[in-house]
């Protein structure tokens, strides 16, 4: 919908019509792989990296928290990129190949490089995303804890702060989604027919 300009309602309806409810979960094993690699690194390594660069103290400058988020996000996206590529491929594929066959086809046609397509943009996006997410979350926790009188560990503090972080990361990341999906078209139109790409757009909601 970022590309077509259609609203979310008609987009959802078209995906339903094209492939039924199950098409919303296409390629989900690659999604699991992505979360296990990319998300584990970007979140799991945040506290150790933050402490290592000296951003772990209460009076540490906030920009260092953003830096820690950018580092772990950027590194995590390198691990996650092959899963991103394969997930997008699986979502656009209208044939009946197994997910394993899609991996084999990719390797045979483009080699290892094929799995690292779009890496540069992906790293940029991940740095922006994780810096905003962790930095804003960290800052929001301070404000929420102070103004509501809850501790930083209180689940209510975590809940409210992550809601705030979610809003800010949408503001900073949305432009890169629009540009990535626009730029991705070159690759996908070359690889697939136009109708494949239209289906991909619908499935991905862009």
């Amino acid at each position: 919908m970022q590309v077509s300009g259609a609203a979310i309602g008609p987009t959802v309806a078209e995906v339903m019509q094209a492939g039924g409810i199950k098409s919303f979960w296409k390629g989900i094993p690659f999604g699991y792989g992505r979360e296990l690699s990319y998300t584990s690194v970007k979140l799991g390594a945040y506290a150790p990296v933050r402490d290592a660069i000296g951003a772990g103290e209460p009076d540490s400058p906030f920009y260092l928290k953003f830096v820690a988020g950018a580092i772990t996000g950027g590194v995590g996206s390198i691990f996650g990129n092959p899963f991103d590529v394969m997930k997008t491929l699986a979502q656009t594929n209208r044939g009946s190949e197994s997910l394993g066959a899609l991996v084999t086809n990719m390797y045979q046609s483009q080699g290892v490089n094929g799995f690292y397509r779009g890496l540069q943009v992906n790293i940029m996006r991940a740095c922006i995303l994780n810096a905003t997410k962790m930095g804003c979350y960290d800052m929001a926790k301070g404000y929420v804890a102070d103004s509501a009188g809850w501790t930083r560990k209180d689940p209510r503090t975590v809940f409210a702060s992550s809601f705030i972080a979610g809003l800010f990361m949408t503001i900073t990341v949305a432009p890169s989604y629009v540009l990535i999906s626009t730029a991705f078209k070159t690759f996908f139109i070359l690889l697939f027919t136009h109708s494949h790409f239209c289906l991909f757009k619908k499935i991905a909601g862009i």
Binding site: M1, D51, G56, Y137, G166, T182, A183, T186, I189
Partner: protein, 63 residues
Amino acid sequence: MNQPTDAKIYDGFMDCAMKTVKEGGVTSLWRGFVPIWARFAPQATLQLLTIEALYDFFGFKGI
């Protein structure tokens, strides 16, 4: 804008950004804001609740 197979409209990331803004205005960079937020809000909440619990469990200072 659709990029046809026989012509190259966008020459790199910055070019794509400039043309997108020129064509649809600055606000077009935030197309799809609502569905992106609908995904990020619950995802960020669940991820951060989980990672805080894990940090606590493994003896790391929370965020």
